[in-house]
């Protein structure tokens, strides 16, 4: 049986002085090997996304006719695909796609969703009611279907996928933020701030926002991992990013025809998706423990 909270130890807390806080948070995160692994892999993928073009031995669409459909070898670490393109290079270059779609999409959705959630939660009233009803109807369709509907309108392109991720995740982020705001806004220190004549804007952004950040960080990480799935599912269904982009989902789709010929062209991008998603989930777990965010 477990009782982890021990009342006698409740007062032991020595939060560091501001500025060192992030460092200490990082150190706390690094205490768990799984979370550390998540962080390292995430950073590794991020670096690949940034420096991929410098690292990739071949161009994204560079075709070597005589090397087409070759198994992994010293020359082509991950083999080549049906068009004679180097899978290793394409996987490296695809990282940028994922970050610029799922990553950027999540980021924008988090920014907009946070603003809406803050406003909606703090202001309440009709604005809140209307916004939430609108979000309800957006969320009453599964994300993938909403994405397909929007892509039908926008046409399949990188920009469309980006927009879809943003539109699909704004309501979700806004709701998470709103619920945190609702619980924070009755805290003593928010009331104290009001008593001391703080403006609404300052209360929102200086007093409430910091309390939202932990939940937001976890939510952003989770959203990112879902966005990776969403983007690659759209690629897989052929309505997302279009060829010859090295989008991992698209690579899996394209290699699926060839799975008996060039299985490596399927497994490496599929593996890249899995590893990144697992890493991001580990990171989210880490943030959750770190900030003691509840599910």
């Amino acid at each position: 049986m477990t009782t982890t909270t021990n009342p006698d130890l409740a007062s032991e807390s020595a939060a560091p002085v501001r500025g060192q806080r992030w460092l200490v948070s990082l150190r706390a995160l690094l205490r768990n090997p799984a979370h550390t692994a998540g962080l390292i892999i995430f950073i590794l993928f991020l670096l690949i996304a940034i420096f991929g073009p410098m690292l990739a031995p071949y161009g994204v669409n560079e075709q070597i006719v005589e090397d087409a459909r070759q198994a992994p070898s010293a020359a082509h670490w991950f083999g080549t695909d049906r068009l004679g393109r180097d899978v290793f290079s394409r996987v490296l270059l695809g990282a940028r796609d994922i970050f610029s779609l799922a990553g950027l999409g999540t980021l924008v959705a988090v920014l907009v969703g946070t603003s809406l959630g803050l406003l909606s939660g703090y202001r309440g009233g009709l604005f809140d009611e209307l916004l939430m009803r609108f979000f309800d109807s957006l969320l009453s369709l599964p994300a993938l279907l909403l994405a397909l509907l929007l892509l039908g309108t926008l046409g399949p392109s990188r920009q469309s996928v980006l927009l879809v991720i943003i539109v699909v995740y704004i309501p979700i982020v806004a709701r998470v933020v709103r619920s945190v705001v609702l619980s924070v806004k009755t805290r003593g220190y928010i009331e104290a701030a009001r008593v001391q004549g703080e403006s609404s804007a300052r209360i929102l952004f200086r007093e409430i926002l910091p309390a939202v950040l932990p939940a937001l960080a976890v939510e952003a990480a989770l959203r990112f991992s879902y966005a990776i799935f969403l983007a690659s599912s759209l690629g897989f269904l052929g309505v997302g990013v279009q060829p010859p982009s090295p989008d991992w989902g698209l690579m899996v789709k394209e290699a699926r025809d060839n799975v008996s010929q060039t299985p490596w062209a399927l497994w490496f991008p599929a593996g890249a998706i899995s590893i990144l998603v697992i890493a991001v989930n580990l990171l989210a777990d880490g943030l959750k423990t770190l900030f003691r965010v509840e599910d």
């Binding site: 409740a10 032991e12 805290r187």
Partner: protein, 690 residues
């Protein structure tokens, strides 16, 4: 001599943590005889709860007995296997925890939960079990046991829940009850009833009890012996009366001096708090653990850990200087605190409240919504009139649900009053905070109840202190920043705290910052809503004194709200007693403890357990529960529970305000003279005057 029921031998208990083993109890020895009630007193962080759980051998997966033994009826509990331990829990000892609500399974009927406790160790059939359950519920004086048995925990009150917990404990007819702050979560009038119950049960059944509490009053009235714990160590252990008559450890003395007695006032006998705070378990001093806070500490105390001595065969104390204290050569009582002078206040009124109404919409439960209940409101403050004069302290006392906090929140504007008028310094205040002028905000400030929530954990102390200066006093950043050290100093905090975050401060320190922040705008009126109720007793006293001093310094009037009538009596010039959103009685503080009283005040005074085993106290208990404010009683709101209930008039008519010659006003149908004749002083102090 027979084997003691429970014997702790050099017990050390530790928790595994990231920073290594944390020793929460060290080298503690204790014996409890059959039928004995043993008090265990300590502040938070003293290790008292850990000790209670160690006695039960239920320390969780991170806790373990590091050394020493727990012997129950002579047998080492560590040697018990799971079955043996279960057998022990089924019959030997039982636990009554602090918070009854979380201690009951929310999704299981009360009857089932009680039945579980009896069905295990006896071969009895279902109807028999049911009879026993109802019998047990009746034994703990639950009204309508059959209904309670069918109810879920959330459907009964906190006091009733605690009685259910006690019933569960008694169901197994234990020889030892481990009571861990069983009444802390309860209101004082409910607490009194539960304490009566415990007292009787222990006496009637010859059950031994280990009673863990921070409340010196509760322990004084209930126990045979008391052990005092400080930062994981036993510092003093004595028969109750001896301990209270002459505490030998400076910490024990400090604790006793920190608690206001009924009738104790700041201008006559100021409280003597203990400086500093309890050390962290990770960073204990090398000598006497109490040395950093001890007024009598000498060099030896800093260097050498004092042994646990036996001044008399019956007493133990862990202090180098006990012989001097015993001989009266030194006195641990602090003389640093001067009585706080109360100047004559000018009779001008600065706050007038008329016919104030505050309502909350009832958060309808799903069940209500399902039943199609219309939206309803709780009348938390009902047609209330109030006046506060310049530089005066008005104390408002009441139990939870009395509307005292709502009153403060309505005055400050955090809750918009539904009706009535509030006038501050001749200006009528808008109901909503947002509509109030900067000037008004500066004039009227507030200190909140929970220091843990009062400061934004993400802002530095300096930033928290700068904000009112910048917003309400129009200072520039530089000017405000320059004021910060001064503000910190005014609440006796070092200037370097400016750079800290709230998480690095103790509860008392946070409340000091909150007070500094409230005084930063030189308010004319300060609303203090239970500012010390979340703090340890040793810290409480200093905060109370600090409030009074700052108030004098700034010529500020104060509305001081508390549930503890002794605390209110200590600080206030005038006292108002609230019940169900209305005032029951008001008048000068000096005479509140003398008859005539409002029957509710009388019951309240009678319920407070005095931290003094020698006090004689009238025994007046309230029956029933506080009625719901959503459906308040007609006539006099107190009539449903009033021990001096007259009859239909109380039900049908609102009582008149009756005034005594010395300025006390009582809201009651019973004439002043009759009250005067019927009532005797609730408390008679035998040992007072040292």
């Amino acid at each position: 001599m027979a084997v003691p029921l429970l014997q702790l031998k050099d017990l050390s208990v530790a928790y595994r943590s990231r920073r290594g083993a944390l020793r929460a109890v060290r080298d503690l020895s204790l014996e409890i005889a059959k039928g004995q009630t043993y008090g265990l007193v300590g502040e938070s962080g003293s290790g008292k709860t850990t000790l209670a759980l160690a006695v039960l051998n239920y320390l969780g997966k991170d806790g373990y007995i590091e050394s020493g033994q727990v012997l129950f009826e002579g047998a080492d509990m560590a040697a018990l296997d799971e079955a043996g331990l279960r057998a022990l829990w089924q019959g030997g000892m039982a636990h009554v925890p602090q918070n009854p609500f979380t201690a009951l399974n929310p999704s299981m009927r009360i009857g089932e939960q009680v039945a579980e406790a009896i069905a295990l160790n006896s071969e009895i059939d279902a109807p028999e079990i049911e009879t026993r359950v109802l019998d047990l519920l009746a034994q703990v004086r639950l009204p309508d046991p059959a209904r309670v048995a069918r109810a879920y925990p959330h459907e009964i009150s906190g006091g009733q829940q605690q009685r259910v917990i006690i019933a569960i404990a008694l169901g197994r007819q234990p020889s030892l009850l481990v009571l861990d702050e069983p009444t802390t979560a309860l209101d004082v009038t409910t607490e009194a009833v539960v304490l009566d119950l415990l007292r009787e049960l222990v006496r009637d059944r010859d059950t031994a009890a280990l009673y863990v509490s921070h409340n010196l009053g509760v322990v004084a009235g209930l126990t045979d012996r008391v052990a005092v714990l400080y930062a994981s160590e036993l510092v003093e252990d004595a028969p109750t009366k001896e301990l209270y008559r002459q505490p030998l450890h400076p910490y024990t003395r400090g604790l006793l001096d920190s608690v206001p007695r009924l009738g104790q006032r700041k201008d006559v006998k100021p409280l003597q708090g203990i400086e500093g705070q309890i050390p962290s378990l990770t960073d204990l001093p090398s000598g006497c653990l109490f040395a950093p806070r001890c007024p009598l500490a000498i060099d030896q105390c800093w260097e050498e850990r004092p042994p646990l001595d036996h001044p008399t065969p019956d007493r133990r104390v862990r202090c180098h200087r006990w012989p001097e204290i015993l001989a009266g050569e030194v006195d641990a009582g602090r003389d640093a605190v001067e009585p706080i002078q109360v100047e004559d206040y000018q009779p001008e009124t600065i706050l007038t409240v008329e016919q104030l109404d505050v309502q909350y919409p009832i958060q309808r439960s799903l069940a209500d919504v399902l039943a199609g209940e219309p939206a309803r409101y709780v009348q938390v403050v009902d047609q209330l009139d109030l006046r506060i004069r310049s530089r005066e302290t008005l104390g408002v006392v009441g139990e939870s649900g009395s509307g005292k906090s709502s009153l403060a929140r309505a005055l400050i504007g955090l809750v918009a009053a539904e009706g009535g008028e509030v006038e501050l310094l001749g200006v009528q205040l808008p109901a909503r905070l947002d509509a109030r002028s900067t000037e008004t905000l500066a004039h009227l400030q507030m200190v909140f109840q929970n220091p843990e929530e009062a400061l934004n954990p993400y802002l530095t102390i300096a930033e928290s202190l700068r904000r009112p200066l910048r917003n309400l006093r129009g200072m520039s950043y530089a000017e405000a920043q320059a004021m910060v050290p001064q503000l910190l100093e005014s609440v006796r905090l070092p200037a370097e705290y400016a750079r800290r975050l709230p998480g690095q401060l103790s509860g008392g320190e946070k409340q000091r910052v909150a007070i500094a922040r409230a005084f930063a705008t030189h308010p004319d009126l300060l609303l203090a809503d239970e500012p010390v109720s979340a703090l340890d007793v040793s810290v409480q006293a200093n905060i109370l004194n600090l409030l009074a001093e700052l108030q004098n310094e700034h010529d500020t009037a104060m509305l001081f709200i508390a549930h503890d009538i002794a605390v209110v009596g200590y600080l206030a010039d005038r006292i108002a007693v609230m019940y169900l959103g209305q005032l029951m009685q008001q008048g000068p503080a000096e005479i509140i403890f003398d008859p005539p009283y409002h029957p509710y005040t009388e019951a309240l005074l009678s319920a407070v357990p005095p931290p003094d085993p020698f006090v004689k106290q009238e025994h007046i208990r309230l029956s029933g529960e506080v009625p719901s404010a959503a459906d308040p009683p007609s006539g006099c709101p107190f009539h449903t529970r009033c021990p001096r209930f007259l009859g239909d008039i109380c039900v049908e008519q609102e009582p008149p305000w009756r005034e005594t010659q010395d300025g006390k006003a009582i809201y009651c149908h019973i004439p002043i003279e009759e009250l005067q004749a019927a009532q005797s002083p609730v408390l008679r102090f035998n040992g007072e005057g040292d």
